[in-house]
């Protein structure tokens, strides 16, 4: 039946061609922080960082704007990533025990007609999965535990759960047959073996100076220095303590092992000696970095990474789990020390970078990978063509908040994308009452400025105790505490008061006026100021229930405005607080800065406020008399929720029971089963849907869904003037004629002070018969184009609207799109989307799309996002369907709800709490990563052949794995450690290990370079090790190395 809908505009080839030049759907780039990251790698040569996620995505980041994304075919979690340094290739190990080789290649992809030279993309080249040897190794024995890429990048060593080590040629990923090193090939003294297996391979490390040798650490504690060429164990270190990880010192004369009891040992590698029983030293003279290691009883719930250097000791206290970390350090192999410049810590919810060169180790604000969800996003709003004046003032205000762009240590790759044509701003409103301003002009989404509205109100928390401020000076929080904690990072999912949540935002980019409206009916009008200000905010209340009797609001209270003046930092500062009563969540807000008016709507009605004179102009109740639900506040859906919960529990219980019991089928039990099945069928009735037209008294019918200001013809066809339009959930549209002093036909602009009151008079009421919620109202000028924004016409920034021909109004409900004539409201065109397609409109926007073929040709279209997640484009005002694209999965309700469109045909929606997917409907305006990387290998290399390897499991129960150690300042080596040697409680370490991460050493005058922090307490319960985290930390105590005591 689609055919006759689309047949109408015909298959006019001319039109089809124009459509192709106008519209094209592309998902272009993901902004924000990857959801559920679980692996991290860094290529110090190319200066690229890779992050793997649980959903199987690999993302590579370099300097701002340089991004590559790859997605594994199977959505298995990425367990490990390793760069083949300098080659632009990387290896990933998935949870399903498969290895994948990825390559940055110059495959040419055409997009938007413009082909860019030298642009590279990430592509999977080949994969390999380890097979257990039948009869020899069980399935779990071939699970990969560790990977080691030799620095020559031609050989991959794979350690397995079963203790075997296999070798694969790179980049072909082919197994070297018969070269695998199995446990029985390692000859060890009988008295050490004691008949027990050596356990899984826990660590593999290449000798820093002698390329052919690797250090193998087995779980039970044995460490073997293995010569690959002679296939001979050169040296054995008979450790007795369960091993977690190994790290070489740069000179190769010693290495450090970390153990499950939270200790670590330094072993000397002396030649001539085949067996070593005891570690040599147990003091740590270096700068050490490690995660975990906190005394579990007191700090077990913290997520920490500790940096120690000489007397400096900082324990970075994060708000989410540490996944992994690395240092950015020198790649010069001749260097004695690593000279780390920065520490990069990947947490579950954000990325934190610490500048190790600057005293105090401040954190560096990242130019991308911003944790959008530091507090949950509740709304968003996009502005294009932001004037430079507003942009600069915002940036200045943002700099005051400590968002100075520091020197970003990860700077690989080159951004080839042309500079953005215009500045674009995305505003996100958050649950904690903040509004964040993001620069979305280009691929890297960068924080610009953050506005907090909590200080307008009196809340329980002390406003000075703002944990979100990343610039907390280190001293402030340390106090007497040991270890010296320092809060780092901005992920803070806990809201002080849910009523602070931002629901709607409206910003005028020309007058720098901002309106934010929140969950407790608060509407705050703000103005931009470059100076600190200390003032009281005017408060006025608007009762939306004015003439209604018998309603009692049972929802939350309004927020208490702050009584005393508060200091407001430069940036947007509140001018007026308008409080809607009852304090239901604001569902719609619209600002008209030119008329100094703000309109807002809740589930009870809408109001109009003149913020210049600070008077309410209008309050209109939209409640239907039968709507009792509207009074119950946000908990109105409890009942149905309870019911559905009960039902699903019942189902779960039933399935559990049936899963547990597997009775032997006897004739009687069969009958019982059949009866039970019948009963099941009866009880769990199939999903049914009631077919009934909407009635006027459906619940929440009064919710005001949209508001719109327009200068148009409402009274008669000859005089236009300001109007206000409001649409409700039950298909009603109210149109008010406004009398704004100084605005209107035949009068000049208000010469300064506006005088007299604004007045609003109801002009029309339209009740759509199908009663579907009105999603949007938009007035079209005589040419059928949407009216320009406030100030655009008066400041000559846009073509003046056509006021000579009759206007019309486009009303989009969830079911239909309709254009009515004005001033006499008569239906002109319509499209019944739901009746035809069975989908409902969720979001609509007017977009102007430019043609790729003709510079000056553009069309204005109406874009609709439906509940099925597809996008429909219609021309305006004829409302003919143009194109349709699938965009979001229909199950992804939050994605659909979060979608926001830009005027030039792009859009954003949340693909996870922390990531926006950017997409483009325009064939011309596409913001996508176009970047290149200087590689050592030629871009065209094609190597074929896939190979196999064997590996073993990933799930060992290791306790901790230390990672990186840093140098210690030379000289004073015998530092004493603060307290007595308490056993450290370790954090369990996951099985990740990073061959490319070297111990890094700061300061040249250090004598040693590596060590491992260690420290899990053996008598503690060891939590399982599925997540890659790092290192433990010697907590309290005089530091004594925890040698492997017998």
């Amino acid at each position: 039946m689609m055919k006759f809908r689309f047949r109408r505009q015909g298959n006019d080839p001319q039109r089809e061609k124009i459509k192709q030049e106008l519209f094209a759907f592309n998902k272009t780039v993901e902004h924000g922080f990857p959801h559920q990251p679980c692996a991290l790698a860094f290529d110090p040569q190319l200066q690229l960082m890779a992050i793997g996620t649980k959903s199987g995505a690999i993302k590579i980041y370099g300097s701002p704007g340089v991004e590559f994304t790859g997605l594994h075919r199977d959505a298995a979690a990425v367990a490990q990533i390793h760069f083949l340094q300098g080659q632009g290739r990387l290896l990933s190990l998935l949870d399903d025990n498969t290895l994948h080789l990825w390559e940055l290649g110059g495959a040419s992809r055409d997009r938007g007609g413009a082909k860019s030279e030298g642009v590279v993309y990430l592509e999977e080249k080949r994969n390999y999965s380890l097979l257990g040897r039948p009869g020899l190794e069980s399935c779990s024995a071939s699970r990969v535990t560790v990977l080691l890429l030799l620095s020559s990048c031609d050989l991959l060593c794979v350690g397995t759960e079963g203790g075997g080590i296999h070798f694969l040629d790179l980049p072909r990923l082919s197994l070297r047959d018969n070269q695998s090193l199995l446990l029985d090939q390692v000859i060890i003294p009988e008295d050490y073996r004691c008949g027990k297996s050596l356990g899984p391979v826990e660590s593999l490390q290449e000798h820093p100076k002698q390329p052919g040798k690797i250090l193998i650490g087995y779980s039970r504690g044995l460490v073997v220095l293995w010569d690959l060429s002679t296939r001979n164990a050169e040296h054995m270190f008979l450790g007795k303590q369960q091993l977690e990880s190994l790290v070489w010192e740069r000179s190769g004369s010693s290495f450090v092992s970390s153990h499950s009891d939270g200790g670590y040992s330094v072993w000397a590698v002396a030649s001539g000696n085949t067996y070593t029983h005891q570690p040599v030293s147990s003091s740590i003279p270096y700068v050490v970095l490690y995660s975990g290691g906190m005394p579990r009883a007191s700090y077990g719930d913290r997520h920490c990474v500790t940096i120690q250097q000489d007397k400096q000791h900082v324990t970075l206290d994060f708000t989410s789990r540490v996944i992994d970390f690395f240092t950015v350090h020198t790649t010069d192999p001749e260097h004695d020390y690593d000279d780390p410049k920065a520490l990069v810590v990947l947490l579950e919810e954000e990325l934190v970078v610490i500048d190790l060169l600057t005293t105090g180790w401040p954190s560096v604000p990242p130019p991308y990978l911003a944790p959008l969800h530091s507090s949950a996003i509740t709304t968003s709003c996009h502005l294009d063509n932001v004037p430079a004046k507003l942009w600069d003032r915002l940036a200045a205000a943002g700099n005051n908040q400590g968002a100075q762009p520091g020197s970003w240590p990860i700077c690989g790759g080159k951004n080839l994308a042309p500079p953005p044509r215009q500045q674009e701003l995305l505003l996100t409103g958050h649950e904690d009452g903040t509004v964040r301003f993001w620069n979305v002009s280009a691929v890297a989404m960068t924080p610009l400025y953050k506005l907090s509205t909590a200080n307008v109100f009196h809340t329980d928390c002390d406003p000075n105790d703002d944990p979100l401020d990343p610039t907390n000076d280190p001293e402030a929080l340390q106090e007497e505490e040991w270890p010296p904690f320092r809060k780092v990072g901005c992920f803070d999912p806990y809201s002080d008061d849910p009523r602070l949540g931002i629901q709607k935002i409206s910003l005028c980019k020309y007058s720098c006026r901002l309106v934010v409206a929140g969950t407790a009916g608060q509407v705050i009008v703000l103005g931009l100021s470059d100076e600190w200000s200390d003032h009281t905010v005017d408060v006025s209340t608007v009762d939306l229930l004015q003439d209604r009797e018998g309603f009692t609001w049972k929802g939350h209270d309004r927020l208490e405005p702050r009584a005393s003046p508060a200091p407001f930092p430069p940036g947007f500062q509140p001018l007026v607080l308008v409080q809607a009563l009852p304090p239901a969540s604001v569902t719609s807000v619209m600002l008209h800065a030119e008329w100094n008016l703000v309109a807002f709507g809740t589930s009870h009605g809408f109001g109009l406020f003149d913020y210049h004179r600070r008077t309410a102009v209008l309050a209109r109740c939209t409640l239907h008399p039968n709507d009792s639900l509207a009074m119950e506040g946000p908990l109105s859906r409890v009942k149905s929720l309870k019911k559905s919960l009960r039902q699903s529990f019942r189902r779960i219980r039933k399935s559990r029971v049936s899963g547990k019991k597997r009775p032997i089928p006897t004739p009687t039990s069969k009958i019982q089963e059949a009866n039970a099945a019948l009963a099941d069928q009866e009880e769990v009735a199939p999903v049914q849907r009631r077919i009934e037209p909407r009635s006027a008294d459906d619940s929440l019918s009064g919710v005001v869904r949209c508001l719109c200001f327009a200068d148009t013809y409402l009274r008669d066809g000859t005089h236009h003037g300001p109007t206000l339009w409001a649409g409700t959930n039950s298909g009603s549209v109210y149109a008010y004629a406004l009398e704004v002093p100084g605005v209107g036909t035949g009068r000049g602009r208000p010469g300064g002070e506006g005088s007299g009151c604004v007045e609003a008079v109801l002009g029309k009421e339209i009740q759509l018969m199908h009663r579907a919620p009105v999603v949007s109202v938009c007035v079209l000028d005589g040419r059928g184009k949407p009216l320009p924004e406030p100030y655009q016409a008066s400041l000559d920034l846009a073509t003046a609207p056509d006021m000579t021909n009759p206007h019309s109004v486009l009303i989009a409900s969830e079911e239909q799109l309709k254009v009515f004539s004005l001033p006499k409201v008569g239906a002109k065109t319509k499209f019944k989307l739901t009746a035809h397609e069975g989908c409902r409109v969720r979001r609509v926007a007017m977009v102007t799309v430019c043609s790729t073929a003709q510079e000056d040709y553009s069309e204005t279209s109406l874009v609709c996002l439906t509940n099925l997640g597809d996008l429909h484009l219609f021309n305006v005002p004829a409302l003919r369907p143009q194109v349709r694209y699938d965009c979001i999965r229909k199950e992804d309700i939050s994605g659909i709800a979060s979608c926001v469109f830009t005027r030039n045909g792009q859009g954003f929606y949340l693909i996870s709490p922390s990531e926006y997917q950017r997409f483009s409907l325009s064939a011309k305006v596409i913001t996508e990563p176009l970047c290149t990387v200087e590689l050592e290998r030629p871009l065209e290399t094609h190597i074929r052949s896939l190979l196999h390897t064997n590996t073993s499991g990933n799930t060992h129960s290791s306790l901790l794995e230390t990672h990186t150690l840093l140098a210690v300042p030379g000289g004073d080596y015998n530092r004493t450690w603060p307290r007595s040697p308490t056993p450290l409680e370790g954090y369990l370490q996951p099985p990740t290990y990073h061959p490319e991460t070297r111990p890094s050493i700061a300061h040249k005058d250090l004598r040693h370079d590596t060590t491992q922090g260690a420290g899990a307490n053996p008598d503690r319960k060891i939590t399982s090790v599925t997540q890659p985290t790092q290192v433990t930390h010697p907590s309290q105590g005089r530091y004594e190395s925890a040698p492997v005591s017998q």
Partner: protein, 375 residues
């Protein structure tokens, strides 16, 4: 006042005569008296006529006894449209829902051009009832399918049915295949669906208002039905296949095109516009379904033009009392000034109206239309 349309000759369609005249409500006490009065007024004494009136919904309803005569009188506000037709023995007049505005309904237009023929057998149609449902397009559908139209418009009964997901068997070239389908799962007692007797539990839903539901989810079909609920046409494959309506033509010959057994078309076969539309080609007709469908429900949207909306005042004095406003502290003016509500508009209106403005012509015409305009 009554507004009367008289159609003396039903075959010559354009020979209609319109009369408008006033009548004292109390003057007439019964149907017979009124009937005679009309005969007198129209100078057609002795001619057998049928009386009908247009009710608020726009439906043509009969006047043939005292009861419905009084009902008609009570619905006059203030005009009552009465339609008089010469009683024709051959052609029973049907009073159907929306028959005034929408002669041609449903998907009958899908059928290829065909000439009408008179039904051989005449069964008297109930003239005193409002139509609530019909089986339509019998002659173009397979015998196993049924296209049912439910006229929600004007009744207060709920539609009263539920739908569910299910599995349907289809015969394909590859053999019998199971495909997902949507079925009626429940009929509400006393609902419109039940009372028609045309829909039953487990009937498979194939189309909604001409749109195939294959491949659509239960929620999509629900939304489509709700969106069309005021005039719902569902094509079903009844679970009970014994009561199928068999188009007469198909019995004679497969290619026969002279069917008029369709109940739906019987209702409308006397209207000239529908004849025209039937003779158009198949394609444009399917188009006209989609379009005609859209046309019809603009009626629903209710536009209330507020009479009190002041006309544009070219020189309203801006400086009115503004001085005092400006001097008053902002805070004090908050919440004290009564906010105009839509109800309280009359308060402000008189001042506008008494100002010496010439009422524009458009204003006047708007007034004449009255408060409520149905499109």
């Amino acid at each position: 006042c009554f507004y009367v349309i008289r159609t003396p000759e039903r075959n010559s369609l354009f020979e209609a005569e319109y009369r408008r005249f006033a009548l004292k409500m109390s003057g007439i006490c019964g149907f017979q008296e009124f009937y005679r009065l009309l005969q007198t007024v129209h100078h057609i004494p002795g001619v057998e006529v049928l009386l009908g009136y247009a009710d608020i919904q726009g439906d043509l309803l009969p006047i043939n006894n005292d009861d419905n005569f009084y009902k008609a009188l009570s619905s006059a506000n203030p005009l009552l449209r009465i339609i008089i037709q010469k009683r024709d023995v051959d052609e029973p007049v049907v009073f159907a829902t929306n028959s005034l505005q929408r002669r041609k309904k449903g998907l009958a237009g899908l059928r290829p051009a065909q000439q009408k023929s008179k039904p051989g057998l005449m069964i008297g149609l109930p003239q005193d009832f409002r139509q609530i449902s019909s089986i339509i397009d019998v002659d173009i559908l397979p015998e196993t399918h049924r296209r049912v139209r439910l006229h929600k418009h004007g009744t207060h009964k709920p539609l009263g049915f539920y739908i569910r997901d299910g599995v349907s068997m289809r015969v394909t070239p590859q053999g019998v295949e199971k495909v997902p389908g949507v079925f009626i799962s429940r009929l509400v007692r006393g609902g419109l669906a039940e009372s028609t007797g045309l829909l039953g539990v487990n009937d498979e839903i194939l189309e909604v208002n001409g749109i195939d539901v294959a491949g659509k989810s239960l929620d999509q079909v629900t939304d489509m039905m709700v969106a069309n609920s005021h005039n719902l046409i569902v094509t079903v494959k009844p679970a009970n296949q014994r009561n199928n309506v068999v188009p007469r033509a198909s019995r004679v010959s497969a290619g026969g095109n002279s069917s008029s057994g369709s109940v739906g078309s019987a209702f409308s076969h006397d209207s000239a516009p529908s004849t025209a539309s039937q003779s158009v080609s198949h394609h444009s007709n399917s188009n006209s379904v989609a379009e005609g469908d859209s046309d019809e429900d603009g009626d629903g949207d209710l536009i209330i033009e507020t009479d009190s909306l002041p006309p544009y005042l070219p020189h309203r004095c801006v400086s009115n009392g503004n001085g005092s406003h400006r001097e008053s502290p902002l805070s004090s003016s908050l919440g004290q000034r009564p906010l105009p509500q839509s109800m309280s508009l009359s308060m402000t209106t008189p001042t506008h109206n008494c100002s010496p403005t010439k009422t524009s012509s458009s204003q006047e015409s708007m007034r004449e239309d009255g408060n409520i305009i149905t499109l």
